[in-house]
């Protein structure tokens, strides 16, 4: 098995909501004030330690946001087990675009797909109150549609690894146990996330 414990995830959302910034913060822990716009798509990976004996490599496809590039998106979300749909809390239009993406993903990839919804630029709500989208309403919408919802700030790093981690955990729960990166023969193939069993060899199985 050449690629144990990995899943494909796609970032979608209107342009300039901060998809690439979230990706960069997640994969490298960095933030750039004036990053270039994404043309086409970009690819990043990051390995997450789900629990003591499970690592999951996230293969992250970062897409271009403009409507014109919409036709490229299926190439990337096709076959993805997870998605993170991003909107900008200071831009109400970006939320309706995000809802469209959720709908498209559900019809294309079905209910099995784990979808996260990130309301990005949360820092702008506290420093200067530019908030245009009410978090409670979105939370309700997210509940109705089985989305993992959080408000994030790629700039400050708030909730970024959290939302990716939550998505990854749900993916791990759905994936059959044999594909997760378990230390060989350590446990009988029980359910993923065997809590309390994690005393041994947590460092030896972390991947390069």
């Amino acid at each position: 098995m050449s690629r144990p414990g990995h899943f494909k995830m796609v970032l979608l959302g209107e342009s300039a909501v901060g998809k690439s910034s979230l990706a960069l913060r997640f994969a490298k822990g960095q933030y750039q004030d004036h990053a270039e716009s994404t043309i086409g798509a970009a690819f990043l990976t990051h390995t997450l330690q789900i629990d003591a004996d499970t690592t999951l490599k996230v293969e992250l496809w970062d897409t271009a946001g403009q409507e014109r590039y919409h036709s490229l998106a299926p190439m990337y979300y096709r076959g993805a087990q997870a998605a993170l749909v991003v909107y900008d809390i200071t831009n109400a239009d970006s939320l309706s675009q995000a809802k469209k993406w959720v709908k498209e993903l559900r019809t294309a990839n079905g209910i099995d797909m784990i979808i996260g919804l990130a309301g990005n630029k949360a820092d702008l709500a506290t420093t200067v109150n530019k908030r245009k989208v009410d978090a409670r309403e979105v939370a309700e919408y997210a509940d109705d549609n089985q989305l993992i919802f959080m408000e994030t700030s790629a700039k400050r790093g708030d909730n970024v690894s959290e939302i990716f981690m939550n998505v990854a955990r749900q993916v791990a729960m759905k994936q059959p146990t044999n594909t997760l990166n378990k230390p060989q023969g350590a446990f009988p193939p029980t359910k993923p996330k065997p809590k309390g069993n994690s005393s041994c060899c947590s460092s030896s199985d972390s991947k390069s």
Partner: protein, 548 residues
Amino acid sequence: MTIVDTLETSKNDLFLTLEGENFQQWKDSMSMETRIPGGLSVEKRQKLWISLATKYIHDIHLDWQKTCDFAFNADTYPEDEQLNIQIVKDLHRTGCNWSSNEYNRTLLQRVLLAFARYNKTIGYCQGLHILASVILDVVNMNEEYSLMILIYLIDCILPDFFSNNLHALAIDMTVFGQWLKIYNPQLHLHLQTLQSSSSSSAAASSSCNDDSDENYEPPLLNVFTIQWFLTLFATCLPRPATLRVWDVLMIEGSEVLFRTGLLLWSKLGVAVSKVSTADQFYSAMGHLSVQLLDEKILDADNLIKGLYNFGPFPTPMLSELRQKFTFQQTLENIKVNQSIGQTNTSRSKTKDIKRSKTKFIDDDVINFISCFAILSPSSLRNNRFEPISPKASSPDINQLRQQYKKLKQRNQQVQIITQCSNEQRQPTSESVCSISGGPLINHLLVKPVGVKRNQMKKHVSMKSSSKEETEDIQQEFEQLLTCLKLEKPSIPQNETTSNTLIDQLVKSRSSQAPKYSSFNPFPSRSFNENVAANGYKLGLYSPVVTSR
């Protein structure tokens, strides 16, 4: 501004050189100069770009002053609002240092808005901001020259990349895959192995999932090549190298993209051939991209040398491949839509029993994906579009009918014109010939896209043979239509019909199609010259040619 002075002085000899053979000579000499180590000087580059653009504006009879007045008008038009929203988002994301300056950003915004007003079919597309910022940099932030060069670059050099949901880009990606297969078969094979092995390993690991989609891995080449082509290498090469590639691009046309892409991949191929999974490929590419930007992998002199060592421009094979895939794609679309219609009806009963997993993708998406599907034919077999709403199959046939109707109308026009010119054979026919023939020869040599746009014109000017040609096309269309209505032959049969159709069409077309054009079975797109001559106010790029 100094640039205005330098250009004013050179303007007189510029217009001398614009005429006829002189222009070609001048261009040849410029193309020689681009190959000198170090490339063109800053002033020479300015002059080259502006001259080529001026020549183009001159050729399409565009009233430049009026265009500028309109495009840079400070008044806002109702459609500007949406454009501005989109443009403003990208102003500070050009990757250029100068875009941190407020004044410069305003200039960039004005140029982008002006272009969007000028070319309404494209409007604003992400990626244009990067091109415009490079151009502004070269012409010392002169907005009029920037607009002019941007128009030349987008309308004349690039084959419709930014319009129509990136349709032409999809075709060129497929064509590029074929190029790589021909010129660097090992790398092509290696990349394909990586793609299919990662797909199959994904399939094995997700065995519980009955969805064939799980096997999917996007073509490895595309992810990077799409960006390279859309930004004309501005985001992957160091700036001096980018500018030198652009010099050649402006002189020789869009084939430069293919040659540059091929050279880059061949250089990267050494490292890429060592990786054994798609995953490693992407992480290796991450490092390689950084090195590429630092000119560690490829230096500009060698790159330009490589471009020309490839052989004389243009390579005929490129236009052949473009024709082939443009047409094949049209057929694929029809087939995809048909199969959607079929599977939908046959499955509608069992659909509820199966998981209620309906897939809806709009027509454009299908169009686009199906071109990529040529690269990975398995995707069609996987039937990943099914089931889809029943409407999907009908618009395509209707569309085809409409296009057929249009073509018929145009045929009638052609016949009338042919008759007229035959009746008054001597003086009129000559003038018709010289008017449409003159610029056309230039198009063949200079302007790949222009030729495509004028394909119908060419039929007009070809007089005696045009009748036969148009009849041929008409026949081809009738065959297409009947093949559509006469559903349902079995799949292999369907394939042979379409294959012979492709062969027939490609054969009949390649004998007459001008070099470098791409075959457009529905020649209804931008008749730039007419539109420009009639003035932008009549609606630029109006696809309705019948009003002529």
